[in-house]
Amino acid sequence: MTTTKFVDIDFSRIESDRMRLNVGPQHPSTHGVLRLEVELDGEVVTNVIPHIGYLHRCFEKIAENMNYQQVIPYVDRMDYISSMNNELPYVMAVEKLMGIKVPEKVEYIRVIMAELNRIANHQIAVATFGLDAGAFTPFLYLFRDREYILWIFEKATGGRLLFNYFWVGGLANDVYPTFKEDVLNIVKQVRKTNKEIEELLIYNKIFIDRTANVGVLPADVAINYGCSGPVLRGSGVPFDLRKAEPYSIYDRFDFEIPVGKGEVGTVGDCWDRNIVRMREMEQSCRIIEQAIAQMPDSGDVQSAIPKKVRPPKGEVYFRCENPKGELGFYVISDGKDKPYRVKGRAPSFVNLSVLPEISRGYLFADLIVILGSIDIVLGEVDR
């Protein structure tokens, strides 16, 4: 089935009233409390104005009033879908300021946890994307698998969603004895379900027609808007911080960077962004398998935790590859117990700003799909 991009039609000659539609803050598919002011010409979107801030929880102000250890629970609550990945850059920024070298085992556990959480995050992203396109069943299959990952998290850390597990210099506690087997089982399960999802949803012709050639984001626009993560890679730019500037121990693993190739449509359309997430799950599985094989059995995960977290005067910007993109923490220390300033560079915040650019000229139904393909979390957009 062909899809016409409605931009090609000259609307200036057709005089019609524009309709202003408020989507959100309560709307089933705004992924939280985003409000979009949409200007419609019939069903064609002529302009979108995102209004954010409905979940502004004052993270940066609170961080100035907490000591370094106490900030971690709040960092969890920024991007609540991938908390492990949030803690990592913050903890590593403080470690860089203090010059702490964490033990080998800690690094491995951190990587495994972060990658597991990346899988969980992408599962939600693909699931809600399918939901936006109207497919309800894949949503539940993915959530079923995510539940198994959460059970591992709960067994290892005590929390299902918000962990407070990575501490400055180590971990809150060691993993449980059968951790390795459980993780390997999960990897197997994830692969099995992903194959099913590909048949049921990704390569379904209706789904392809809905998402291919929709919301095309060219590479140069994506870079200029500062997009990162699957949004940038979907446009064909092979940029991944785990490869570009390997932090932690990511240089020890063999994995690929999946990019959008325009298999069913144009490079950088919604389908490409989605397939990048699907393939990243597979790459995460590979990383986890390698990390499990290399992980040392013995070792104290708390040996490097400082008695008092009090970094010297200085400032550091540390960034990691969050599932959503580049998550950076800009930490300024004035030598006291509490950080002078913590700024979170949230990937969703930056990725969302490209929405008006790529949704102009498509149908209203496409706007929902485009928004779903960007995969935002409002907790991170508003902080």
């Binding site: 979940l55 929880r57 102000k61 609170i62 995510r146 969603l161 918000l162």
Partner: protein
């Protein structure tokens, strides 16, 4: 309302009829609650988990509705900010009676982790709308939300429908005496 009063009198055997009718009506309302498809923050993710296969919220007869007009109860799942507060109030007013509210998680209960320095956070959703059940947790486990739901169902089961004012007054008087 002479007839209703007579029916409600246990000595004229009407109490049984009305009581049974009341039970049936309450049963209908408590077993078929439709919630407003609405999530705010972290708790909404656990809320989604609860709808998923492992916990299956639909076992309680609960179906998501996207529009407040058709919803019976709202779950405030997450932090309510001041910008959002007025919207929630509007949503609540749009819902059709009888309606209920469950406040899920620390943020909705009292501002949670943000109660001290959160200049833009509403410290408890009960400042703007009435709350029937408070579910603690940050975020609560899906089972905890289900437990809160069961609490709400037992609340609905005991609600008075006939001679409402009189009975509410009696209950209040009883409560006062106790205190």
């Amino acid at each position: 309302m002479g007839l209703l009063d007579r029916l409600d009198n246990p000595f004229e055997t009407g109490g049984i009829i009305l009581g049974t009718l009341e039970d049936v009506l309450n049963w209908g309302r408590s077993k078929s609650d439709w919630y407003l498809h609405f999530g705010l923050a972290c708790c909404a993710i656990e809320f989604m988990s609860m709808n998923a296969s492992h916990f299956d919220f639909m076992r309680f007869g609960i179906i998501p509705r996207a529009t407040p007009r058709q919803a019976d109860f709202i779950m405030i799942t997450g932090t309510v900010t001041l910008k959002m507060a007025e919207r929630i109030k509007v949503l609540w007013e749009q819902m059709a009676e009888p309606k209920y509210c469950i406040s899920v998680g620390s943020c909705a209960n009292s501002g949670g982790p943000y109660w001290q320095y959160g200049y833009h956070v509403l410290k408890g959703v009960d400042r703007i709308i009435p709350v029937h059940v408070y579910v603690p947790g940050c975020p609560p486990r899906p089972e905890a939300m289900e437990e809160g739901m069961m609490k709400l169902q037992s609340l609905i089961d005991q609600q008075a429908i006939f001679r409402k004012r009189q009975r509410i007054a009696e209950e209040e008087a009883l409560l006062k005496n106790k205190i």
